[in-house]
Symmetry: C2
Subunit: 581 residues, 2 copies
C-alpha cells in the first residue's frame, strides 16, 4: 500500500503520528523559506508543509519542483497547524514531510480541478477522467452508488431477486428505434440491445420468480434531446399476484426509504391523482406540486360577455401567480412575449391584477366587470396581491402553454426549490393515444399494459377513452418511474396487438414467445421501472443527469473522450456479412 492513511481522515487525534500519504498536488504555495502543498485524494485534502529549517534540504528543494496534479507519496509527521481551517475535517493538522516521492508527473491540465472550473462542457467531456477529479462530479458518482446500494438493499430485504436479463435480444419495430448488433454466426441476422427488459421480466413472472428487480442498462437509438442518453439505467421491477395498489405501496415505500436514508427527509403518503385530473389541473401528466398555481377553468365565467377571443375558444383557463400583482407593464409584456414564442405557442395572454384593496385591474376591463373578475379569482384561487394569467384556445394546446407558463413563473418566483421533495402518483393513464402521423392508435405505455376491465367494451367504440392500469411516479415535475398491471392471458394480449394494428403474423413473429408463455399458466402481474439517472439527479438536487453518469455521450451520441463510434475494418465487416451503403 502506498499510504497509511487517506487525505481525508487525519485530525488532531493523530498529532505526532508518522504517516504515509499519497495523492495529487492540488496546489502549492511557495513562501521561500516555507512551502505548503495541498495533497488531494478521493477522501479529502491534507496540507503538507516543507520547511527550510525543519525539512531536509533535498526534500525541501524537491517540493519546489512539484506541479499541479503531480502524483506524489510523502512520509512525515502529523503536526498541529498554526492557522487552522475549520472548513475541512483535516484543517487542524498538517504533515511535516520527511520523505517525498514523485510517483508520476503531470502536464498542465486543460482546465482547473476545482469545484468551479474554468473548463467548458466540451473540454470537460473530452478529459472526463480529469473532470471526475472535481468534487461535483466525483461526489455525484459516489452519491449514485449510495442510491443504487440502498435500492438493492431495500428490495432485497423484501425478497426481490435481482435477475440479469440478456443484452443481446431481438429487434422489434414497435416503440423507439433499436440499436442492433449484426450476428457473425447467424448470417444476415441481428440482435437488438434492449430498450427495457420488459418481456423478460414478464417471463420471469410466468417462471414463478414472484418478485424481480434489476438495475440495468437500456438502449434507445433516438435523436437525442438535451439531457437524454442513448444508454441509460433503469431500476426495473416486476411482481406476481399483485394489484395496482400493491405496486404503488411497495415502490412508494422504496422512494420514501430513499428520501429518508439518503436525504434525511420524511415525506407523507404520496398524493394520487388521475391522469385526467393532472391534465386539467396542471396541463401536464408530471406536475410539479412543490407549489400550487392550479389551473382555473374559466369557460363558464368568461364566455358570457362580448369578448370574441374567449367566446371562440374551446378552453379559457388561468392561473394565479402569487404576489405578482406588482408586475410592471414591462414585466407583463415580457411574459406575454414569452408565451407567444413558438416553443410555447400561445397567441396572446390576458392578465388580471388582484389589487390589495380587493379590486381587480385587467387587460380586458372593456369586456368584464369586477364581479366577473372576482369569479375568475375564485376559479383560480387568486388572493389579493396575485396576478391571474389567462390563456385561451384549443384545449390541449392551451393547457400545454399554460403548463409551460406555470413552470416558468415558478422558476422566476424561486418556487422550484431542489431541497424540497414533492412526490405523487399519477394513475389511470389512457391505454392508447392516437398518432396523427400513422393515423392509428399506439400504446401509451406499451402493448403489454392491461386495460381497466370496466373500460374493455370501449375498445371497440371509443378506444381513446379506455383507461389503463398504468401509473407514473412523479417527483418535482419529473416522471421518475412508471409502470402498469400487465395483460397475462393470451386472448387479451392478442386482442391488444390487433387494436395496435399488428397482423396476426406480425404479433406471432415478434411476441409469439410471450403469448405462448401465457398459455402455460401466467400469474397476474405488474411492475414498474424507475429512471435511475434522473432519480439520482433529482435526489442530488440537480436538473441535469450528465454529472451523475461517469462517461456520458454528447448529443450526437458520441463519446468524445475515447472517440466512439469509429470506423471498423473491412475484415470485421466481412465477418459480419454486412457492408457500408
Amino acid at each position: 500500500m502506498y499510504r497509511s492513511h487517506n487525505c481525508g481522515e487525519l485530525n488532531a487525534s493523530h498529532i505526532n503520528t508518522e504517516v504515509t500519504l499519497a495523492g495529487w498536488v492540488q496546489k502549492s504555495r511557495d513562501k521561500g523559506f516555507m512551502n505548503w502543498v495541498d495533497l488531494r485524494d478521493r477522501y479529502g485534502i491534507t496540507q503538507l508543509i516543507f520547511d527550510e529549517s525543519r525539512s531536509e534540504k533535498s526534500v525541501f528543494e524537491k517540493a519546489k519542483t512539484l506541479g499541479r496534479e503531480f502524483v506524489i507519496q510523502v512520509k512525515g509527521t502529523v503536526i498541529e497547524r498554526e492557522a487552522k481551517n475549520k472548513n475541512i475535517p483535516t484543517g487542524e493538522i498538517e504533515i511535516l514531510v520527511t520523505e517525498l516521492t514523485v510517483l508520476n508527473q503531470a502536464i498542465t491540465p486543460p482546465f482547473t480541478i476545482e469545484d468551479e472550473t474554468d473548463g467548458g462542457e466540451d473540454i470537460r467531456m473530452k478529459y472526463r477522467y480529469l473532470d471526475i477529479r472535481r468534487n461535483p462530479v466525483k461526489n455525484s458518482l459516489l452519491f449514485r452508488h449510495k442510491v443504487a446500494m440502498e435500492v438493492r438493499k431495500y428490495l432485497s430485504d423484501l425478497d426481490f431477486c435481482e435477475v440479469e436479463t440478456p443484452y443481446l435480444i431481438k429487434s422489434t419495430p414497435e416503440g423507439a428505434r433499436d440499436f442492433v448488433v449484426p450476428s457473425r454466426m447467424n448470417e444476415g441476422q441481428f440482435y437488438a440491445l434492449p430498450q427495457s427488459p420488459q418481456t423478460f421480466k414478464q417471463l420471469l413472472m410466468v417462471g414463478g420468480m414472484d418478485k424481480y428487480f434489476q438495475i440495468v442498462k437500456c438502449f434507445r437509438d433516438e435523436d437525442l434531446r438535451a439531457d437524454r442518453q442513448p444508454e441509460f439505467t433503469q431500476i426495473d421491477c416486476e411482481m406476481a399476484f399483485v394489484e395496482q395498489e400493491d405496486i404503488l405501496n411497495i415502490f412508494e415505500g422504496l422512494t420514501r426509504h430513499l428520501l429518508l436514508e439518503i436525504k434525511g427527509i420524511e415525506v407523507d403518503k404520496f398524493p394520487r391523482i388521475t391522469y385526467d385530473y393532472a391534465m386539467k389541473t396542471y396541463g401536464n401528466d408530471k406536475p410539479d406540486i412543490r407549489f400550487d398555481m392550479k389551473f382555473g377553468e374559466l369557460n363558464e365565467v368568461a364566455q358570457h360577455k362580448e369578448f370574441p377571443v374567449f367566446n371562440a375558444a374551446e378552453l379559457v383557463v388561468g392561473i394565479a401567480a402569487p404576489g405578482c400583482a406588482s408586475y410592471t407593464r414591462k414585466e407583463i409584456d415580457a411574459l406575454i412575449d414569452w408565451v407567444k414564442r413558438p416553443q410555447v405557442g400561445a397567441s396572446g395572454m390576458v392578465y388580471v391584477k388582484c389589487e390589495a384593496n380587493g379590486t381587480y385591474k385587467s387587460s380586458v376591463d372593456k369586456f368584464y366587470d369586477q364581479e366577473d373578475l372576482a369569479n375568475w379569482a375564485k376559479a383560480t384561487d387568486a388572493k389579493e396581491g396575485d396576478m391571474i394569467f389567462v390563456l385561451s384556445g384549443p384545449a390541449n394546446k392551451t393547457r400545454a402553454a399554460l403548463s409551460a407558463l406555470r413552470m416558468e413563473l415558478a422558476t422566476r418566483l424561486g418556487l422550484r426549490n431542489p431541497a424540497v421533495f414533492a412526490p405523487l402518483w399519477v394513475v389511470d393513464f389512457p391505454l392508447l393515444e392516437f398518432d396523427e402521423e400513422s393515423g392509428r392508435y399506439h400504446a401509451m405505455h406499451h402493448p403489454f399494459t392491461s386495460p381497466k376491465p370496466e373500460d374493455m367494451a370501449l375498445l371497440e367504440t371509443d378506444p381513446g377513452k379506455v383507461r389503463a392500469n398504468a401509473y407514473d411516479m412523479v417527483l418535482n415535475g419529473n416522471e421518475i418511474g412508471g409502470g402498469s398491471i400487465r395483460i397475462h392471458d393470451k386472448a387479451t394480449q392478442a386482442l391488444m396487438f390487433k387494436y395496435l394494428g399488428f397482423t396476426e403474423e406480425e404479433a406471432k413473429a415478434q411476441f409469439g414467445f410471450l403469448m405462448d408463455a401465457f398459455q402455460y399458466g401466467a400469474p397476474p402481474h405488474g411492475g414498474l421501472a424507475f429512471g435511475l439517472d434522473r432519480l439520482v439527479a433529482i435526489l442530488g438536487g440537480q436538473e441535469t443527469i450528465r454529472d451523475f453518469i461517469a462517461f456520458p455521450k454528447n448529443n450526437s451520441g458520441r463519446d468524445v473522450m475515447i472517440d466512439a463510434p469509429s470506423m471498423i475494418d473491412e475484415k470485421q465487416l466481412n465477418e459480419l456479412h454486412i457492408q457500408l451503403k
Copy 2:
C-alpha cells in the same frame, strides 16, 4: 394482493387461521371423496384439501377440473394434516379450501416441472420460463442474487464505489472479436460492446475514484465452446495506490467472506504459487488442489538406463494415483487408451504398482530395478498401494497430458468433491506469450499489464521470460478471477504497444486517450475481475454455468426462446447506412 401468505410459510402455528394463497397446481390426487392439490409458488408447496363432506359441492367439483400448472387462488382454513410430511416446512398442515378461483388455465407443459425433469436441454431452453419454475434453476438464480448482494455489500463497506461504465464503446482489434453496433447518427461508424471495462476502470483511477467495482455484462463474439456465453458477467474491480500484495489481500478477503457467508465454510489463508511452479507441479495454471497427485519429475532417475523412450524425451514425469495399485490390467489399459486419445495426445504410458509389501511392479521392469522404482516413488510421493503413472515427451505437451490424466483420475477417484473448496493464487504470470500463427508475441493478460521492473531488461533479449505483475485466483481447478498491476506511465505503455507489434499510429488511434490520460497524473493502480457466472456455479457446487444464467444462449449464440438473432427490415438497415453482403 392475491394472497395473505405464500406457499412456503404456513406451519402448525397457523392452525385455524383463515388464509388466501395463490400459485401453481403442482399436482392433484383425486381419491373420489377427497382431492388433494399441491399448490406451488417460489417459496414452497402447500397442500390443499377438497373434501366431499367438508367442502361446498361447487368448490369440490371445480377442484376436479384443475390441471397441472393452472394458476389458482384459494381461501380456506389452515388445519392439521393427518399424514404429516417431515420433509417440507409446511408438512404439518394443509388448507381446507372454501373458495377456489382459477386465475389462469394452463395447457400441458412440454416437460415436467420437477427437480428431475423429463425435458432435455433443448426443450428446456425453448421454454426457459417453465424451466425457471423448477427448483434447481430457480434456486440457482436466487443463489446468484445472494452472491452478488454479498459482493456488493463487502466491497461497498470497504469504500469501493460501483460505477457504471458505458456499453457503447470503441472497437479495438486487439484481443477477442468485438460485437459491434452500427451508428445511425454517425454514418459508417460503429460502436463496440465492451469485452471488459478495462480502459474505463483505469481512467477512473486516473480520475481519482480510488476504489472501483462493477458487476457488469461483458461481450465476446467468439466461437462458443461448451459452457461459454457471448455475454457474461464480471465482478470488475480496480484500486489506486496499491501493490499486488494489497489486491491479493482484499480479494482473498472477499472470497473468504463469500465462502463463510454463503457456504458457512472457513478457509485458511490462500496458498500462493508461481505460474512456473503451477506448470511444473500440476501441468496447468489453474490447478485443482482439493487433492494432491503432484507431478514428480523423473529425468534424473529414469534416463540412466537403456529405455530409449525415456532417454529420448525432453521430460519424464509421473504422478501417484492414491490406492490404485489394485487396478487390473484391463483398467490400466483403458487408462492408457484414454491418454492416447487425440484430445490428450500421449503416445503411451508407463505404470508402476507400489505393492503393499514395499516392492514395485512396473511395465518397464525390463529396464529398471527396485531401487530405480523406489526413487520414482520418492519423486512422486507414492505410498504403498498407489499406482505411479509416467508420461514422457516434449515438456509442455507432456505436462498438459499428465494434467488431463490427473483430473481424470481425481474424477474417477471421487476427489473432486463440490462441497470442498480449495482456493489459491497463481502469481508471476509471463507478460507475453508467443503466438505461432501470427509469429509474434501477444499480451498474456492484456496490453495494460505491467512487467516486473526487474525483468524489464529481458524485454529486448528474451521477451518470453519477462514476468508480469499478474495473478489469477483459482478455485477447484477453475480460474475464477484474474488481474494485474497496470502500467501507469505513458512511456512504458508506448513501449508495451511497440513490443506487441502496434505501430505508433495504431496505438494512438486505439488507445491514445489512455496514454493521454497517463500524462495528467496517473496513480499506480491495479485490479482484477472475477467471472461471476463461473464463481456462482462453483460456489453452488456445479460444474456448468448455464443454470445460473436466467436466459442463456446456445452454442450458436442463439436465444432459442425468443428466437434471436433475427432478420431486421430494409428500412432499419438503410437508417444504419449498411446493407447485407
